[in-house]
Amino acid sequence: MSWYGKEGPCPDVVLSSRVRLARNVEGLPMGKRLSRERAEELISDTADALGNAFDKTDFSHLDRITAASYAEEHIVSTEFASADNARALYKNEADDTYIMVCEEDHFRIQSITAGYSLPEAYAHARAAEASLAAKFKLAFDDELGYLTHCPTNLGTAMRASVMMFLPALTRTNGIAAIARQLSKLGMTVRGMYGEGSEAAACLYQISNQVTLGVTEEETISKLTQLADIIIAEERKRRDELAKNSPDELSDLIARSYGALTHSRVMSCREFMDHWVNVRLGVALPSLDTGIPKDITFSVLDTSLIESQPSVLMLYSGGSELEPHERDCRRASRLRERLSEKA
């Protein structure tokens, strides 16, 4: 079960924590300079390094829908899902640590854990790195740190991030101020599932930008301090919203819950709007919304992933579906997922 099927700390605000490490093999060409033959050799040597602890998925021969579904689950990057070079994904049994082989760097180690759990994600990623370091000489320089394909990642070559659900900050126009503050501190915020500057699902990824001149622990500690402040501010603004207009907010949330559990046709965009409202409703149990208690954050987060086009098509048999057909399947999947709990 991936991150979204589990419930971690602070699930009302933080969906998942992620640590990604970029690593390369000393003396081996990178990117387009790596021949297919040597890429395949690297993929096979990685299997030897990881032993039985990881399962391999060969992305070179994977169908488009399955590959894209991994990106929708946030397990691989969209570039990795759609590339045409020899590449593979290694996934551990616990389904929380992943190694993309032949992404931009030779190895992109990634651990994603449920909720607010950065230290756990970091520990998993370092453990996977140690398995690789026992087999491969990883490219490293005393001054520049880990040597990466792109010089922006030199140093720790680590990106740590938390995926945050910030509906109250979004509605009260608080995101721009956060983005400004974060950029001054070497951190960045990105809207997810959004078009333009709008983050449709009120989901934001907060991550570090700086990789040189800082330790991994300092980066995680700073990110945690900032995330703590954002969590507190989001909760404060939610309480204010609930206090200032409880009837309007309860009504909005209850209508959205009705739409998610009774619709017959549901577009991705409409789903996102209702999903945000219902997730906010679960976070505000004092409101009278009629949402059953067993509709938990992990149930909703699972429905978010399952409603994405490729995951939806994969669950519906794995063949391409027209948008209208997808919207019908999405509505039906939501009814099953949410009403089985009700």
């Binding site: 026992a134 394909h149 030199l154 140093g155």
Partner: protein, 182 residues
């Protein structure tokens, strides 16, 4: 004020970044800012980040590359491992292999400094910190002679590559490979 990047349009966006306490500011027009991905917080949700800005500035780092062709009589220096030249790296915004950082160190350092400030590596390398890092295990078993021999050979390989002794490097590479297969 004109855009610092294209020098043609009016600069309407003032972009500052503070990295490791060092502030760098750019005055840019909308077109150049868009090309560099500056200010759009919604882009690249899963990416490692940052490369669009970099490749734009890479061109400025190497005026010889930007201004046109080099003299045909002067062969371009290439990385002995992957064959990338400095103009290849500037065009891609990415190196061809780890050895490129050594081969073109002097030329790449100004760009690295511009991205990262004057900082040097402070993190916990797996090689250094195996015993202090949570979840990490030692890089190699101390009683594994094959590993030790392979490490010695690797060190020799890098020396050979640095000295551009490719015949010796090929022999060493094959020896390392043979050890790995045992």
């Amino acid at each position: 004020m004109l855009c610092e990047k294209c020098g043609k349009n009016e600069a309407t966006i003032h972009y500052s970044e503070i990295i490791n306490g060092k502030k760098t500011s750019y005055a840019l027009c909308r077109d150049c800012a868009d090309k560099m991905g500056v200010g759009d917080i919604t882009s690249d949700p899963f990416g490692f980040g940052g490369s669009s800005l970099l490749s734009t500035f890479f061109g400025d780092m190497f005026p010889a590359v930007k201004s046109g062709r080099r003299q045909p009589s002067v062969p371009e220096r290439r990385c002995p491992v992957c064959g990338a030249s400095l103009s290849d790296i500037a065009a891609d915004g990415k190196v061809g292999c780890s050895e490129c950082y050594r081969t073109f160190r002097a030329e790449l350092m100004p760009t690295v400094r511009r991205i990262h400030g004057s900082a040097v590596y402070k993190g916990n390398a797996a090689q250094k910190s195996a015993d202090t890092t949570v979840g990490a295990v030692p890089e190699k078993a101390p009683d594994d002679p094959a590993r030790t021999e392979a490490d010695t050979l690797r060190a020799e390989l890098y020396e050979a590559i640095k000295n551009e002794d490719f015949e010796r490097a090929a022999v060493l590479r094959d020896k390392i490979k043979a050890l790995g297969n045992n």
